[in-house]
Amino acid sequence: MSFAQTIGGTRHVFDDLRMLMARASPPRSGDMLAGLAAESAAERVAAQRALADLPLRHFLDEAVIPYEADEVTRLIVDRHDAAAFARISHLTVGGFRDWLLGEADGAALAALAPGLTPEMVAAVSKICRLQDLVAIAAKCRVVTRFRNTLGLPGTLSIRLQPNDPVDDPKGVAAQILDGLLLGAGDAVIGVNPATDNVDNICRLLAMLDGVRERFAIPTQSCVLAHVTTTLLAIGRGAPVDLVFQSIGGTEGVNRSFGVSLALLREAHDAALALRRGSVGTDCMYFETGQGSALSADAHHGCDQQTLEARAYAVAREFSPLLVNSVVGFIGPEYLFDGKQITRAGLEDHMCGKLLGLPMGVDVCYTNHAEADQDDMDALLTLLGVAGVTYVMGVPGADDTMLAYQSTSFHDGLYARAVLGRRPAPEFAAWLDRMGLAERTPELLPAPMRGALA
């Protein structure tokens, strides 16, 4: 159906829900690249007014990508929980924003999550300011468990990301020790491999597991290989804690990543069968990012933020331990500068949280984006206030394998200190036992000294 809104004497018409959502999106280079962005500030506000007046029920009647054409749409429709939705079924998008900012609390939002579709949360995010994105997300409570407990109130976790350009085990291990000395690693110790070679992945998995066991660290490890490679590694008996995969919001973008819902289900089942979690069974780790669908020419005329929210529907199907947007990684053709990256990071975090995900954000930028450390400090601080589940920890903020800048171990310490957050409780207790909770000793703790011999 089409929508119309008159602003300052000009009538703006939007052909369908997909177009309305795109025109209502705050500006970003990826939507301009796709030819979907509003052509004027007035058209954007007209679309936002029309979107605000739209009943939430409408999202159950009009799909942005047809049910018959896309398995992600089928997943969203088939899994929608009408009973959970009943609480807000009388609201418009604008009324939903008011309710989220007003009476909604953590318990109500947790109960509501299965009744929300990605398109509903994407729509409300488009009429939110940054402070709304922060305030709403800060109400959400999402707790997940594998070998420790993530997402508890008052905590902020860090993924220790010890990437090495040639997957040298000693280079990886040295970065792990550096991160542990600076309080990182409770979300996961997760390596992006430089090579998807199966032998190499198995070798890294064994090394990570050895480090974790040697120091009895209450955390989980992951080698972020393609899901098919991880399945081969499981077949060879490798110690796989978490199965990783990059995912997107359409069947087509997932195909471009070489995955489908069926393949993810197979991988989830394989990881569950290993029964390696000690306090829980959440064993999937997903990464997403605005722009991936357009990059794969699989966006179906939808704006990138709506598609990003649809990726979260894929994620929540598999009860993940961790989900993060790699917000500044995908490039300036999708998010041009620090302003666009900041907004997108806060949108992704809130949308993921409303849909019930343990949402982290890779606060990051590449060297061809118009962004710098000041932008990252601002986004990290805003996300911390918003209650982000975890951020990345990279030595000195410089990932020497992926060639981009993310948050450093130091940034994690800063955020925890200024916000009064602690690591996951099991990991915090381990830091205490190792004498690392308050300071970094110049001499390595005794158990670590023989580690790289």
């Binding site: 280079g171 291990a173 600076l182 070489g258 990464e287 990059s295 990684f329 053709e333 390595l444």
Partner: protein, 253 residues
């Protein structure tokens, strides 16, 4: 190497920025300014231009030059779609002199020209020697400006090549301003996705050296010929230690 006993000993084991010390929770001043300098240099590298005539001359006689439809660097950064398409006249020129069934090589500036300028001649020479030994028909090497990886699909298609290797400048990082990647695509044609390619990455001094990179690419080329495909269907099961490859890695534009 002896086992580390002090925090600073970790630096012996990695080029990453470990053991930087602490000023409260933050970086000490010297480490902070080291980072700022590295970022400034990387920003400048993104805007470096490929000297295509010099590179073509260094690669050797018969090297051909093309350009994408992105007219300048800013357009290239904001319009990747244009960086994946050949100018019409360049496509016509390739179609007019095809190399059916050959193994084609495209050398492209990508996101940083510095490493390609320096390393492509040696890489191309190593690949050509190996390909000839494996019985491949050779296509003329093509050098492209303002090019994305997928420009190789159109170049390979225009040449009628059986496969194409795209040697391309990788996005500069703070610790690697000169890195080259090679993307291998079987049966190149417009519309191929990144899941249909294999990649050998991080080719630079101090990273993967040229001989090891060429050897790995040749191993992948032989496997691709045997399987009739590249991408996630071609698993790198070569024993460890022969270099770094990647199939469909992290989400990236």
């Amino acid at each position: 190497m002896t086992a580390p006993t002090r925090w600073t000993d970790l630096r012996r084991f990695t080029g990453a920025r470990v053991a930087l010390g602490r000023a409260g929770h933050a970086l000490p001043t010297a480490a902070h300014l080291d980072f700022q300098e590295a970022h400034a240099r990387a920003r400048d590298a993104v805007w470096s231009e490929l000297d295509a005539p010099a590179l073509a001359a260094a690669i050797g006689p018969g090297t051909r030059r093309v350009a994408s439809r992105a007219a300048d660097r800013r357009t290239y950064l904001l319009r990747p779609d244009l960086g994946r398409r050949l100018r019409a006249e360049d496509r016509a020129a390739l179609v007019a002199a095809p190399a059916p069934g050959s193994f084609a090589i495209l050398v492209a500036d990508g996101l940083c020209a510095t490493g390609v300028q320096a390393q492509a001649p040696a890489l191309v020479a190593a690949l050509r020697a190996g390909l000839a030994g494996a019985g491949w028909a050779e296509a003329p090497v093509v050098v492209a400006c303002q090019a994305r990886v997928a420009l190789g699909d159109e170049v390979g298609e225009a040449l009628g090549a059986a496969a194409i290797a795209v040697l391309i400048g990788e996005r500069p990082g703070l610790s690697s301003l000169d890195s080259v990647g090679i993307y291998l695509t079987w049966a190149p044609r417009r519309g191929r996705t990144d899941a249909e390619r294999n990649c050998v990455s991080n080719i630079r001094p101090g990273g993967l050296e040229v001989p090891a990179a060429a050897r790995k690419l040749l191993w992948l080329a032989a496997a691709a010929r045997r399987l009739g495909e590249t991408g996630v269907g071609l698993k790198d099961e070569e024993p460890v230690g022969l270099g770094a490859t990647q199939a469909a890695g992290r989400v990236e534009g």
